[in-house]
């Protein structure tokens, strides 16, 4: 058996790309890392492995705590972490969801080709930048009064449909049809609602962005066909989350848990793993609040997408419908969800809180929770890459339910800190090089953001996707490459 030892943590190779940290001490289950040797070297460079070990201490943790191929250090629970806890006797952990609840990605198709866009990149990037709020204090697409915020939290994309910001097909191509039925807006604090009301329909900053992309490669013709993707086609990718409303909700519940469940917190190796015992009032309240934030984030991405339709209609002087601008799919990658999985040696069916923090649901063909439009081929998965590397569309793989509670990676994963990135890269130089060498047009509120998000600060997304495909948890369908990128 191949073993590796990294900073005193021993990993045993179970099979190709699957490494196990055996259970010891206070660990409730073993931990697993899904990675090639090259990715494992990068994962071992920071505190990811220790954080993964710590995650196994959460009550009710089932089978394994798992690190995806793009895993990196977070706070408490690693980014790229999947942990399923028993929904009856375990816990739910806001720390294992993350501050940006339902941070996620959606992709919109068009019937335009790269030829239609070439030569108009500057005009498009300027129009998008002027019309899609980004950065700090840029406002939102919609002014959120009290009634609006309550409606969004309660009804998700149903609210957007009623308000004229969505069409029925948008709901059919979103997880849960864009509405979490367990949402409880009354469990979201006034403070969180205050922060959210000026940010409804806004990108934010950091690694969030909006990109016009062209499809460069198709790997599985039948699936690409079902997803409506073909070579040279223009698509739009939107990456953002629940903004200040979600961040505040996570913060609020971390503090409530600290005050009410101090005993449980004291038994955990990291305060950021804060968890509420399953069945407790606080667990129910957090779940209801988190589901409301999920709705908010879906509406946030929906408003931005619909605004992009309007921008395209103006720039190309045609209706968006005539450009076939339809949602392909929307994936969440910071979320906890009650799901039923077969667990243990005897494949017993159990209800679990599946925490995916920097990980994407990846249900295979035939799963009843995959939208009808894609049930025959598997759930679409969108893996955003850096501005210089492109992104991938995958489909849920046959092995995902056995290996990862139906999950795969969520992106390239950072390699370098933001402070180091700003020392190594200069925003304007990155922008110029992308334009001159890669024909990628970038516009950002802050030059520092461009430096911090330079292609060189990310892991090799190709390698992340190769491992996901080889493991059969998320299969490669198509690759896209940026044409225009706007960010905060």
């Amino acid at each position: 058996m191949t073993t590796r030892e990294i900073d005193g943590i021993r990993l045993e190779q179970v099979r190709e790309y699957v490494w196990e940290i055996p259970q010891e001490g206070e660990m409730r289950v073993p931990a697993r890392v899904l990675a090639s040797e090259a990715l494992l070297d990068e994962i071992g460079d920071d505190k990811t492995l220790q954080q993964l070990k710590n995650a196994t201490h959460l009550p009710g943790m089932t089978d394994h705590a798992i690190c995806m191929p793009d895993g990196h250090q977070g706070y408490g629970f690693p980014v790229g972490g999947v942990g399923a806890t028993d929904a009856e006797n375990g816990c739910i952990s806001p720390g294992a969801v993350g501050y940006d609840i339902n941070c996620g990605v959606r992709m919109m198709r068009t019937n335009l080709t790269y030829d239609d866009v070439q030569g108009r990149e500057e005009e498009l990037v300027e129009a998008l930048f002027a019309n899609v709020p980004s950065g700090l204090g840029g406002g939102g697409v919609v002014d959120g009064d009290k009634e609006t915020i309550e409606g969004v939290l309660e009804r998700g994309v149903d609210w957007a449909l009623e308000a004229g910001w969505a069409v029925p097909a948008d709901l059919e191509h979103c997880e849960d049809e864009g509405r979490r039925p367990d949402a409880d807006p009354s469990a979201v604090s006034q403070k969180a609602k205050d922060r959210g009301k000026n940010q409804l329909g806004s990108l934010g900053s950091g690694n969030h962005f909006l990109e016009i992309q062209r499809v460069t490669d198709i790997y599985r013709d039948d699936v690409a066909d079902a997803y409506g993707l073909e070579p040279d086609q223009i698509v739009v990718l939107i990456h953002c989350g629940s903004r200040g409303l979600g961040h505040q909700t996570c913060t609020d519940y971390l503090r409530k848990i600290e005050k009410e469940h101090g005993d449980l917190l004291d038994s955990l190796p990291d305060k950021e793993l804060a968890a509420a015992p399953a069945g407790s009032e606080l667990a129910e309240a957090y779940y209801g609040a988190m589901c409301a934030c999920i709705n908010f984030a879906w509406v946030n991405r929906q408003l931005i997408m619909h605004r992009v339709r309007q921008v395209f209609a103006r720039v190309f002087d045609r209706s968006w419908e005539s450009m076939d601008m339809h949602l392909l799919y929307d994936v969440a990658h910071n979320i906890a969800k009650k799901e039923v999985h077969e667990v243990g040696a005897d494949d017993e069916e159990r209800e679990l809180y599946v925490h995916r923090k920097g990980a994407t649901r990846a249900f295979p063909a035939g799963h009843p929770e995959v939208p009808a439009a894609y049930r025959d081929v598997g759930q679409p998965i969108i893996i955003p890459g850096s501005m210089g590397a492109g992104s991938y569309v995958l489909r849920g793989g046959e092995s995902s339910l056995d290996l990862t509670f139906g999950s795969t990676a969520h992106g390239a994963g950072r390699l370098m800190s933001r402070t180091q990135a700003k020392q190594e890269f200069w925003g304007e130089t990155v922008q110029d090089e992308l334009r001159e060498q890669n024909q990628v047009y970038v516009k950002a509120q802050s030059g520092a953001t461009v430096a911090e998000e330079a292609p060189g600060v990310y892991k090799d997304v190709d390698e992340v996707v190769r491992v996901s495909d080889a493991l059969g948890i998320g299969d490669k369908v198509a690759r896209t490459y940026p044409v225009c990128n706007i960010k905060g």
Binding site: D46, H72, Q73, G74, Y75, G76, V79, G98, Y99, D100, G135, L136, G137, K191, D194, R195, N198, Q199, G204, S205, G206, G244, H247, Q248, C250, T251, L254, R255, E258, K259, D270, K271, E272, R414, L415, M416, S417, R418, T419, Q420, Q445, S446, G447, A448, T449, G488
Partner: protein, 136 residues
Amino acid sequence: MSYELRPHTADVAVAATGATLGETFAAAGDGLAAATCDDIPETGERFSLTVRAEGLEALLFDYLDQLIYERDVRGVLPVANEATVREAGAEWMIEASARGVPFADISARDVKAVTYSEMRIEETESGWDAYVVLDV
């Protein structure tokens, strides 16, 4: 009082130091502003805030969280922070003020939240040190 931004793979950390707890906490607040914006102009009106919590770490967490809240709701970046920290019965209390630079005057990015990850507050020979990781 002073602060330094330190590297962290996904986020940004602030190491703050001061002669008193109040100075150290205010320096952490200035670190939060520096993680948001590189060039801070001399504009904006001062405002005050008071926060209470059950312990020192909780107080630093809640103070920075309140600055983020004030930032989003007032539409200003809190800079030039000043603060005093004292025990108030069974709790700790911070009485603070900041100058709120209007968003219109700056090019800034969002810091999402304060975290407890690796948080440290330590008394030293010359005062107090604090370390806090921010989610960017």
